[in-house]
Structures are given as C-alpha cells and as structure tokens.
C-alpha cells in the first residue's frame, strides 16, 4: 500500500501505546510534574544529573511559605502559596513541621509595615493572628527582646529532599521511572519536533537515547542552558541567595522580620540548626557560585536582630543556590523585584514541538507548577484526564526505592 506518513501526521497505530514524557530535573518541580503526569496515565521518565534535589530545591531553607512575605508586594504569589500550603499539609503531612511562623517588628520601619501587611494578608486570604509582646515571648523565648508588633502566620518547615522523595515515590508507584545520575547532554530534534534526549549515565558512563512524545525542562536555574539545546531562549535569570546554618535549635517557629522583603529577613529551625536566609545577587553559572563574605556577615547581623541567639555562634553550614527568576537579564539588577511566580513556556510558540519549559516559582508551589505544566503537556498528548494531585495523599518517602 506504501502510503507515506508525513512527519506531521502521526499514524493511528501509535495512539494505543500510552503517551510518554521525559522530565529533565528531579527538583521539587520535576518531582511534582512526574507525579501529576503519572497520575494521569502518562509514561514518565525522570532524568536527573545528580542526586534528587541536589540543585536549587535541596539548598533552600525549607520554608513552607504561607505567602505572608509576598502579600504586600506580589499578591499573586501570596495566594498561590497559601492555597498550596494547605494542599501540601493535606497530601504530605509526614514531611512537614506545621509549627506556624511569627512576623516580628523589631524597629520603627517594621511597625509602620504592620498596617499594609495585615490588610494584604486579609486580601490574600492568609489567616493571621496578632500577638502582644508577652505572648510572643512565651511562645518563643529566644526571640529578640524588642518586639514592637508580632503577627502569627501559618508558615511551616519542610525538608526539601524528603518532599521530593514523597512526590517521586508516589510517581514511581504509578509507573514513572527515575534515572538518577543521568545527565541530559543533547536534545534529539527532528525537523521542528523534539523526539527525545541523549543522556549519559554518570554512574556507569554509558550514553544512550531516550525517546518520548514530550520533553519537559524542569531544571530550575539551568532552564536557559537546557532550552538552548533546542535553540530556544528562555528568560530565566539565575539569582543566588546565601543561607547560613547555625548550630542549636533556638526556636521552633519560623521567625520573619515584619518589614518589606530584605536581606536576612528570616530565621527558621531545621532540625538541630537555625537557618538564616537570604540574600540575592545574579550569577551566570549556577554550578559555581562563590559566596561574597559580606553577605554572610549580613546574615548574622540581620538574623541576630530577630534571634540574638545566633550572635557569636559558629556557622555550621554556609550554602547558596541559584533561584530561577523569570525575567530579562537587564532587569536582574533589582533581583528581588522580579515576580516570584512561575511560568510554563510551551515552545510550540517558538516553533519547536514536543518541548516545554517550566521555571520560576518556589518549592511550596511545586504542585501548582506541576498542575499547570501537566495540563499543557496533556493537551499536547491528547490526554483528557483532570488533575487529581490536590487530594491524592503522597506515599511515604521511604517507599521511594520500592515503588
């Protein structure tokens, strides 16, 4: 019969085989996307060049954002955070510390910020409660002695690695496959469609090709690099932020500075340490981030104003990761002003089929990012299943290796 199937027409015979997708990157976004697609019956392969959450996701301070920090300046991010915080508390309670957080005004500027902050939180639907100084000191005795105002917000703390593991354990239970230590080195592009990737398995050294209907680029600050493999430009600005871990768990709640977002405005407990975050400076290569010493001193100074217990304590760990901010390099100088929300780029608009990039956002909103990405990918794959990740509880992270 010799009918020639043109490249754009997909012969019917392929549709009985379940659609497949490759997710590059096993950070919180990649893990959540793999979970969402696997729930919808897509055959997912996650390729991660290193350990799970060894990029940006691992090295964040693990704040389960209630969105209060962004309420005044970035209402959209704030509402995303509070809704996601409640969803995560329902689907992955096992890896969260839901102790709440405190916004504390330690100077006049902070006190002035109290009014707009309360209004913005109410507007964003973030339940907050005002405390007086005595009550605050009873809850957290180690907090600074000068408390001009204190507001309790539903912040939380999570461990980034185990949250990703919970997503991936559930994804694997639903048929997804995960290849750690597998680095994507090039994209296989035929004509204007991405057909698969060439991946090198670092633990065995062999190179092989993995085919899929859609390739999802969830590599955070490296999104620009990976997108360039398909000749596409993605406006991601890697912006590093230093975090200092000090030994000794002096507080059990997240302590935020009641003021406009600034350097060192958060101190939160992570197991036996206190993590002081964060600062912001643009970097060009997310792999090699040299931490300016003055940023570290600034963390101690500003962090100490919130929780004096950190002064005079040795730093147990000083680490930095590059956050993927959406925006042109030009306006990167105002680092913190870039909106912290996320964006999913369907590169069909750039003329490249079967290739999607998801970047920006935060780990707290990973599930929402995955939902948006999965909706776009499923539309391309012709999968008409709705997103169910809001109510399906995640499996224990310990089942990761067994799923």
């Amino acid at each position: 019969m010799g009918t020639v199937a043109s490249a754009s027409f997909r012969p019917f015979v392929r549709s009985d085989r379940r659609p497949s997708a490759i997710v590059i990157g096993a950070g919180s976004t990649g893990a959540a996307t793999a979970h969402d697609l696997a729930l919808r019956g897509v055959r997912v392969t996650v390729l991660e060049r290193g350990e799970i959450a060894s990029g940006t996701t691992g090295r964040n301070h693990g704040l389960l954002h209630s969105g209060a920090r962004y309420a005044v300046k970035d209402r959209e991010s704030a509402t995303e955070c509070i809704t996601e915080r409640d969803v995560l508390a329902r689907i992955a309670p096992e890896v969260l510390e839901l102790n709440g957080g405190l916004f504390i005004a330690v100077d006049e500027a902070g006190l002035a910020y109290r009014e707009p902050f309360l209004e913005a939180c109410a507007g964003a639907g973030i339940p907050v409660r005002e405390l007086d100084a005595a009550e605050t000191r009873a809850l957290e005795p180690a907090v600074s002695s000068t408390i001009l105002a204190a507001i309790e917000v539903p912040d939380g703390v999570f461990d980034p690695l185990h949250l990703c593991l919970a997503f991936l354990a559930t994804a694997r239970a639903n048929g997804a496959r995960h290849r750690p230590f597998s680095e994507v080195e090039e994209l296989r592009v035929r004509g204007s469609s991405v057909e698969g990737v060439v991946v090198r398995d670092r633990s065995t050294g062999e190179r092989r090709t993995v085919e899929a209907d859609v390739v999802i680029n969830a590599t955070g600050p490296w999104a620009g690099e990976v997108a360039a493999m398909a000749g596409v430009d993605v406006p991601v600005v890697p912006t590093a932020g230093v975090m200092v871990a000090v030994a000794g768990r002096a507080v059990d709640r997240v302590i935020n500075r009641l003021d406009a977002p600034s350097d060192g405005d958060i101190v939160l407990p992570q197991r036996q340490t206190l993590v002081i975050g964060t600062s912001s400076w643009p970097v060009d290569d997310p792999d090699c981030i040299t931490i300016p010493a003055e940023h570290v001193e600034r963390m101690f100074l500003r962090g100490g104003e919130l929780v004096p217990a950190v002064w005079g304590r040795p730093a147990r760990g000083v680490f930095a990761a590059a956050r993927p901010l959406i925006g042109r390099p030009g306006d990167a100088s105002a680092g913190r002003e870039l909106p912290r929300t996320f964006q999913c780029f369907d590169h069909a608009s750039d003329g490249v089929q079967g290739f999607v990039t998801i970047s920006g956002g935060k780990t707290t909103t990973a599930r929402a990012m995955a939902e948006t990405t999965a909706d776009i990918v499923c539309a391309k794959l012709g999968v008409r299943k709705p997103c169910r990740t809001r109510d399906v509880p995640l499996r224990s992270y310990r089942e990761y290796a067994h799923a």
Partner: protein
C-alpha cells in the same frame, strides 16, 4: 577567593561497569578558611571530573544524604569545615560509607535500612517534649502547647558505617534502626510499641550490640544510638511475662 590546592583521594568505582574500584587522586582549588568538605567535593565534580557520583541536597545537616568517610571517619561533609580535617598540605581521603550497598563512587543506597525503618513505622516528625529546654537553655512552660519537630535522626547511616558489629554481620539491625525503635518506645504516638519491641528483641537486634559506642561518637545529630540501645535493653528486661490466662 580559594587559593590553596587540595589533593583529594576519592574512592572511585571506575567504568565500564563500575566493578573496578580504588582511590583516584584529584587536585582542586580550596579555601581552607571558608570551605566545607562538601564544597570541595562539589568543586571536583564541577571543575575537575564531572563523572564523580556523590550525594548532596540540603548542605546544612537536615537531609542526611551526603554522609561519607573523611580520613576514615564518618562525617557529614556539608557541615564539616575543611580547616577541621585538613592540615593544609596532606591529601584528604574520602570514601563512601561502609556496611551499606554502594551505588557508585561516594553514593550508597540506603534502601535496606530505610525498609527496616518503614517496617518499624518510624515517624519522621516528633512532638517536642512538654517543657522544652531550647538550645539557649530557656525553659518553656508546658501549657504553651506542643510544637512539632523532625526526628533528630537524619537517617544518614553514619552510625551503621561506624559500627564494627554491622561490618561483620549484615543481619544485625544496626544502630540506626535500634535508635528509631527506642524513639517509638519512648514516644509511641499511637505506634504499636509491643510489636516494635518484639522486632528488636532478637539475637540480631538489641542483644548483638557490643557497646563499642562508635555510633554515638559519629552521630552528627546527637541521637546517641548507644545509650538508646541500652535503654531498649532495660525496657526489654523489665517486660513482665503475661500471667497465664490474662486477657490477650
């Protein structure tokens, strides 16, 4: 800026099928004052040899995935300052943990231990004791309500690697699992304490520990598995046999 050069003797399982293994020396720049050991390992991966396979995620002793042996001693490289382990000129030897299956280079596979923790249903989050002596020594009164906290144990398996008994007998449950069992006995949280005590009350459980205390010496999180194993023994010795005919 890092200016010195450090020679790292890294344990490498070389290709093609990663079965040949041995030390490979790599030189890389280092800043003895500011770097942690993990920074230097990561620099080897970023600048010298991208085929190095190693684990890291949180970089501040919260996830427990990066544990390795530095100069023969189990440590978390993320919170080990380079100046504490490197004299400035001799080579630094870095090997993977022992007593746990090796994946490649410095990365081990903790599944066998995590399965046993799962079998115990060892929760990940604990309730802080009623009156909390927080690190600054300030006591918090009880009625302020309980806060929650991740278990101290990072599941990094440094103790399992340090334990001589575990190196000789893979059937031994190991200090990590026994310490987790003691935590369940100490703070049940609706856990099934009797079932857990039975799981550990065996020849390859609590009674195989030889009180070497190497586990408590290397634990980065102050869990002190040695003392917890001894506490489990006391609980087991105190378990009164049920008088015959008593309701089950």
């Amino acid at each position: 800026m890092p200016d010195e050069q450090i020679r790292l003797r890294l344990w490498r399982t070389t290709a093609p099928q990663r079965e040949r293994a041995g030390f490979v020396e790599t030189a890389v720049r280092a800043d003895r004052a500011a770097d942690s050991v993990l920074d230097v390992i990561e620099r080897v991966w970023a600048e010298a040899d991208p085929t190095l396979v190693f684990r890291h995620a949180c970089h501040h002793a919260s996830c427990g995935t990066c544990a390795v042996r530095v100069n023969g001693r189990e440590r978390l490289p993320c919170i080990t300052a380079l100046r504490d382990v490197w004299d400035g000129h001799s080579a630094l030897t870095i090997e993977p943990l022992r007593n746990v299956p090796l994946v490649a280079d410095l990365a081990v596979d903790p599944t066998s231990q995590l399965d046993q923790l799962a079998a115990l249903r060892f929760p990940y989050v604990r309730t802080v004791e009623e009156s909390v002596r927080c690190a600054t020594g300030i006591e918090r009164d009880a009625d302020v309500g309980t806060a929650e906290r991740f278990e101290d144990c990072l599941e990094c398996l440094a103790c399992v690697s340090a334990c001589p008994v575990a190196s000789g007998s893979p059937e031994y449950l190991g200090p990590a699992v026994l310490a987790a069992a003691q935590r369940i006995a100490e703070e049940p949280r609706h856990g099934d304490v009797d079932r857990v005590l039975d799981l550990v009350d065996t020849d390859h459980g609590v009674w195989q520990c030889r009180s070497v205390w190497a586990c408590s010496a290397v634990c980065p999180s102050g869990v002190d598995p040695g003392a917890r194993i001894m506490d489990l023994r006391r609980r087991l010795l105190r378990r009164r046999p049920i008088p015959a005919g008593a309701p089950a």
